[in-house]
């Protein structure tokens, strides 16, 4: 079956613009996670969705970051008024249930000029 997909694969934007990153999890997976990976760093947790429960937003670095998950499937991560320090690879992962193995998508490389 298809794995986790993300789009776009690359995004170059100008400082101050808004961007939307999309994640399609594996069909049937109830848990969805967003991570950020900066050069030479590990994966930084951003947000977690589990079914219809309220998301865990504790990892979002500022109020410029938001995410939603519609219909328990596709998720969109939005960054408003992008800054250069937002440049990173944004990875999405999904798991069948909470605490299960997380399967990662290929990521979106965001570059803010």
């Amino acid at each position: 079956g298809a794995g986790v997909s993300q789009s776009p694969s690359n995004k170059v934007t100008e400082k101050g613009k808004d961007v939307e990153l999309r994640c399609d999890p594996i069909s049937g997976h109830t848990a969805l996670y967003w991570y950020r990976q900066s050069l030479g760093q590990g994966l930084e947790f951003l947000i977690y969705f589990q079914g219809n429960s309220a998301p865990d937003k504790s990892g979002l670095p500022s109020d410029r970051f938001s995410a939603e998950r519609t219909g328990g499937s596709v998720s969109t991560l939005t960054i408003q008024r992008t800054q250069q320090e937002d440049s990173a690879v944004y990875l999405c992962a999904s798991s069948l249930v909470r605490a299960d193995t997380q399967y990662f998508g290929p990521g979106t490389r965001l570059t803010v000029l």
Partner: protein, 110 residues
Amino acid sequence: QQPVQSPQAVILREGEDAVINCSSSKALYSVHWYRQKHGEAPVFLMILLKGGEQKGHEKISASFNEKKQQSSLYLTASQLSYSGTYFCGTAGGSNYKLTFGKGTLLTVNP
């Protein structure tokens, strides 16, 4: 708190063994190991739960010492395909929010 991985990088010749360590300052419920090749998504290797469990997958195995809050990944008779960056992700009681280390870059040369 981010777990600490050691070493930061290691270079091997094909067939040699390596150990990658992951230490946390917090009590752990589980440790997850992933391998990421350049430009690709991290790929799951194994999960270890508290209880001193040891798991193996072909020539890659791992141990988890919950008292020491440490996990080690063992790669034996390394193959070229083992090259990549290895990350450990740790989880406390919630067991879903993984905190990842900075990674260990493993290079296997012919």
